[in-house]
Symmetry: C2
Amino acid sequence: MAKVTLKDIAREVGLSVTSVSLVLNNRPCKVSETSRRKILEVARRKGYVPNQIARSLVMQHTDTIGLIIPNIESRFFASLAKNIELKCRERGYALIITNSDDSPENDSKLVRLLVNRGVDGLLIVVSDEFATDERLVSDLSQLPTPYVMVDRFIEGLPCDKVRFNNELGGYLATRHLIERGHERIACIVNPRSNTGRERLDGYARALGEQGIAVRADYVLGSDYYIASAYEAAARLIETDATAVFASSDNIALGLLKRLYAHDLRVPRDYSVVSYDNSAADVLFEPALTSIEQNVPELSQAALDLLFRRIAESEAGELGGPDEVVLDPKLVLKDSVRRLD
Amino acid sequence: MAKVTLKDIAREVGLSVTSVSLVLNNRPCKVSETSRRKILEVARRKGYVPNQIARSLVMQHTDTIGLIIPNIESRFFASLAKNIELKCRERGYALIITNSDDSPENDSKLVRLLVNRGVDGLLIVVSDEFATDERLVSDLSQLPTPYVMVDRFIEGLPCDKVRFNNELGGYLATRHLIERGHERIACIVNPRSNTGRERLDGYARALGEQGIAVRADYVLGSDYYIASAYEAAARLIETDATAVFASSDNIALGLLKRLYAHDLRVPRDYSVVSYDNSAADVLFEPALTSIEQNVPELSQAALDLLFRRIAESEAGELGGPDEVVLDPKLVLKDSVRRLD
DNA sequence: CTGAAAGCGCTAACAC
DNA sequence: GTGTTAGCGCTTTCAG
């Protein structure tokens, strides 16, 4: 597996580099069977591996996709990254995964880094939807490379987007609780993110439909971190709520940790609907009823769109921005009890 | 941010490509201040970004490191990947993270993929230490690219390695339990991995030192998955053990899930020492005493070694295989009670 | 101080 | 059937 080039093979077989290149890429061409066989044989024997760098330089594409995510340690993003990586590989693309550490400046550095390295396309989960980095927006708006924003967005930047319908998620969760007889339903949401706000909207809609008022003391704010949710849950247990919509994985985890600490049980003392059941599901007894966001579906949609853009941009002209919205669904487990 | 090359700038300034290249890379050279300023100015105005592909082709290096891990969804590996990515970026390297999905064939495919793409170095966590892929071993043994194996190893392949001392981890965990007055100490380990076997050795050594016999019914096998540990824990609660050494994060999680399901409490009913406290720590009440493997330390050691090799291999000759072993340490929390 | 020229390894017209 | 040639965008001797 040492370094052997087309030229080496050409010299050995006594043919030109062109022929060797043609055969090794098995292009439609008229190289005699004998030569072809010889080339293949020598190539295998010497362990030839094409130099992708050189190839990329002339082909003007790298067969590489770049991914920017805020935090690879989050289960949702880890799972997203894994899925995307797998699907890219199936399509013959490599994936460069980068981690912005929840920093908007890094977002913009990483975009540049990835583009310099000649990725053919970019998948971006921005680290902050509100604290927008000016540089990022201006870079993005005149990027030569196709990109699609996933899951989170920058306000007012027209571009391709793929996301889940968070409002629907919040609605489904809350309606389920109502259908099981609950009326005093709290929710823990992240008001500093669009996803959180939308989930809250859904919560409010479901309550509204049944003529139940949204009570301020039932709406608890929390970041998407366990510790933060743990704090929020302290306020929860001072209310008379019988059910709670925990609007993310980590939020559910923080909530449950708090409940356990107070010897409160689910669903005996509180009925809980979670979001993104990935983690909580395997961790907890009982398993949590939750709103599921199908990650493979998300990554598939994002890649489909991105690859379409890449094809379009190679072909010549590309269409206007697209937005695809995926519906989450309610997955019934054992954390909600019927109230009579 | 459209595509602008050295030539474009050269033409605009009325100088040669050479001069432009020289000043843009600010090499020690004698280009007049005036020219230099003009070049810089035009470059910025046109938004020049060097084409890394072309650069790599001539420089014969890509400033890119490849990482192969078995499963990015595991917290330990996610954290490792995040750390390595950060440190690479600080050193001006990009990181290509790939996921082998616990498949040895993928290991070998990924090695080839990354090498073809011209990574300057490779960090590998093999997916299976025993089911060795022949192809992988032969590729690795004559790889032109420096690489270091991290955390797990292939038997009989002389190469650079960085790992934690698992035997010590098992020893520290068990000794702590003994010091707190426990004698009926069970352990849940993964016998299908070297890490598991070594941790078991440490467990046995600690017991042996105190003249406590290793009881077969106390040694429970489990994969590194929550579900598997959950099953193993079912057997645990049929013994009369008062303490248990849960030899991984997921194992601890499966164990705790089982204990909760049976309304058993920690440390009231069982004292528990876990491993890799990352997850369990934030999730559970009480926090778990555990053996900590310092991931930043691991990634630092791995990268130090790798970068040294890269330097050596560029310089000319590189030394023989190195092995660096890091010590884990016991972190006291609240999951162990003193037995009197 | 500055530029011409060669070449990294590969692909692709276009000859022969 | 097969070879020649000309780049891809950049760095780097080596001459002026």
